[in-house]
Amino acid sequence: MAVKPVKMRGKLAEGVAEIKALMPHPMETGTRRTEAGELIPAHFIQEVICEHNGALVLRAEWGTSVSKNPYFAFKVAEAKAGDEVVIRWLDNLGETSEGRLTLK
């Protein structure tokens, strides 16, 4: 399955940016089985890193309780137009992807 980029939206109001992200990812727990009865291997996002103009603002450790195609929203303080917000994820199989947003 090809790795897809993180989709991002941002709304800036009074110095606070509300960031919304949708991360296409199968988020397999490793406990589900196929119709034939075989276990589907675990494949889930383990780490999420968010950077504001290159500085780390948020780090999350995720596990198997997060659903498929996670929707993730957070706020960034002291934000202004032109700032760049980056969301990067790393999964248990070593795959990675990211999304970039320039605030307006």
Binding site: K4, K7, R9, L22, P24, Y71
Partner: protein, 272 residues
């Protein structure tokens, strides 16, 4: 007493069979206009989110970044892909398949049966020597989601020609008949008890049930069809669910879509 009941039910049965689709539609809409005096008929396309402010708020905040977006993008890509013989979906539908979902389902005179969008998609594939897609597959969901998206804002204007009346009536009978061990009919919950509670959920009105498909149900974690929902609902009342695109479900979709005539399409949608 029993004789009177028998005469009553015979008269009512006769009256129902004499009723034509336009009269059915008028009575259907009138019922919901009276039950929900403060809600426009068209607003019922949002289902339970038109009936509960708190649920609506949560749903609207999700609409900022809806989960079906991924399916629409995948569907757009699939739609643009050519078949092995060089043709594509655009060659099978009017207007190249853009903004046509509101014209389905329709009565296919040649086949003598109801034609739904999903069935038309597979007929298109088979006409061009491509293997049909499984109705429950993500690919079918994505294609259907994309085509529904291009029809957003259009209105239903389903027609029932004389040849299609039997299918319409079969769908109508299915809708009003009680089924399963729980002995519930579609109408029992979504007409008679619309707006009421079923366990912890609010029952949505049938008027608006055909507009927002396919739907990303959070429970399914993918986009699924109206027929999948029919089967799920049937199983929940203890009735064995039918296969997607079975004749009975196509007839039911035909009746239900006709009952949604005049309403605005708003698929694909998110539902719990």
């Amino acid at each position: 007493m029993l004789n009177r009941l028998m005469i009553m039910s015979l008269l009512l049965a006769a009256a129902s069979l004499r009723a034509d689709p336009p009269s059915d539609l008028k009575a259907f809409r009138a019922f919901f206009e009276q039950r929900f005096a403060n809600i426009e008929i068209d607003d019922h396309r949002d289902g339970a989110y038109a009936l509960d402010a708190a649920k609506r708020e949560q749903w609207l905040s999700m609409e900022d970044f809806p989960p079906y977006e991924i399916a629409i993008e995948a569907g757009e890509a699939l739609f643009a892909e050519s078949f092995a013989d060089g043709s594509g979906y655009a060659d099978c539908f009017e207007n190249s398949g853009i903004g046509v979902k509101q014209t389905f389902p329709r009565f296919d005179q040649a086949a003598g049966a109801v034609l739904t969008l999903e069935l038309a998609i597979n007929q298109c594939r088979q006409a061009h020597s491509e293997a049909p897609l499984a109705y429950a597959s993500e690919a079918m969901g994505a294609l259907s989601a994309y085509m529904a998206y291009t029809s957003r804002g259009e209105t239903f204007a389903i027609t029932v020609p004389p040849e299609g009346l039997a299918a319409y009536n079969a769908g109508k009978a299915f809708f009003y008949a009680r089924r399963g061990q729980l002995n519930f009919s579609c109408a029992g919950c979504h007409v008679t008890s619309a707006g009421g509670m079923l366990r912890a959920e609010i029952l949505s009105a049938s008027v608006g049930h055909a507009t927002h498909w396919p739907t990303y149900r959070l429970k399914w974690e993918q986009v699924g069809s109206l027929h999948k929902r029919f089967a799920e609902c049937n199983e929940q009342v203890g009735a064995v669910g039918l296969a997607e695109q079975s004749p009975s479900y196509r007839n039911l979709e035909y009746f239900l879509s006709y009952m949604n005539n005049g309403m605005t399409l708003n698929g694909p949608a998110t539902r719990k």
